[in-house]
Amino acid sequence: MENPRLKAAVHYTVGCLCEEVASDKEMQFSKQTIAAISEVTFQQCENFAKDLEMFARHAKRSTINTEDVKLLARRSNSLLKYITEKNEDIAQFNLERKAKKKKKLEDENKNSVEPAEAGVVESEN
């Protein structure tokens, strides 16, 4: 995706988020304000990306992980706390999802094995 389309996607998402804030606080955002927030966010992504890459490289990794993201959020205590909690929520959610998938797979395997076992019992009789 080229730059202009990426920027447009960011702008759309920023617009949606601002709309929710606006309706919640009963305040309107001017179009220029939304565009400005979108621009700042896009530029901030550059800083985030470069920092994340450096953090991972510093730890001699080529894959950025959640520790790197947490390091990114270090400047404000409440932000760090929020991100750390969010990380635990994500980990927990993914864990539960994996457990559900595993159980579903096990149930499916059990169902496909049962008819065969019944057949064996009958032949023994």
């Binding site: 995706m1 990426l6 996607a9 960011v10 998402t13 920023v14 949606c16 988020l17 601002c18 929710e20 804030v21 606006a22 919640d24 606080k25 305040m27 309107q28 955002f29 001017s30 220029q32 304000t33 400005a36 927030i37 700042v40 966010t41 896009f42 901030q44 992504c45 550059e46 985030f48 990306a49 470069k50 994340l52 890459e53 991972a56 490289r57 080529s62 894959t63 950025i64 992980n65 959640t66 790197d68 993201v69 947490k70 990114l72 959020a73 400047r75 404000s76 409440s78 932000l79 929020y82 991100i83 909690e85 969010k86 990380n87 929520d89 994500i90 980990a91 927990q92 959610f93 993914n94």
Partner: protein, 110 residues
């Protein structure tokens, strides 16, 4: 400086447990949360990869979801702090001037 997000907790944020279910990785709010989760992850991934210096750099799935969350907070904080500024100035609309006043502290916090 405390996150304004905590003081002005919007109705769509909910309690910690529910937030994880519906919001993980989602950048767009509303009823399309689950559907948007993958699209948001894709967008964040493209945004990050745009600025990586090394081609070999990758992002883990969890880190991607966390980054989507961080970016969402960034936007929402910018929005809410601007609103607060506009309210303090007794305005009916949030203009760029209000954003400009809150931007320095926002960038320092992130």
């Amino acid at each position: 400086m405390t996150l304004v997000l905590h003081t002005f907790r919007p109705p769509w944020m909910g309690s910690r447990g529910r937030v994880a279910e519906g919001w993980v990785g989602s950048l767009v709010c509303g009823k399309r949360e689950r559907v948007c989760r993958n699209r948001a992850g894709e967008l964040v991934s493209k945004l990050l990869h745009l600025h990586f210096k090394d081609d070999k750099t990758k992002v883990s799935g969890d880190a991607l979801q966390l980054m989507a969350e961080l970016l969402k907070i960034f936007v929402v904080e910018a929005a809410i702090r601007s609103v607060r500024q506009a309210q303090a100035e007794d305005l009916a609309q949030v203009g760029v001037e209000q954003l400009e006043k809150v931007l320095p502290q926002l960038l320092l916090d992130f």
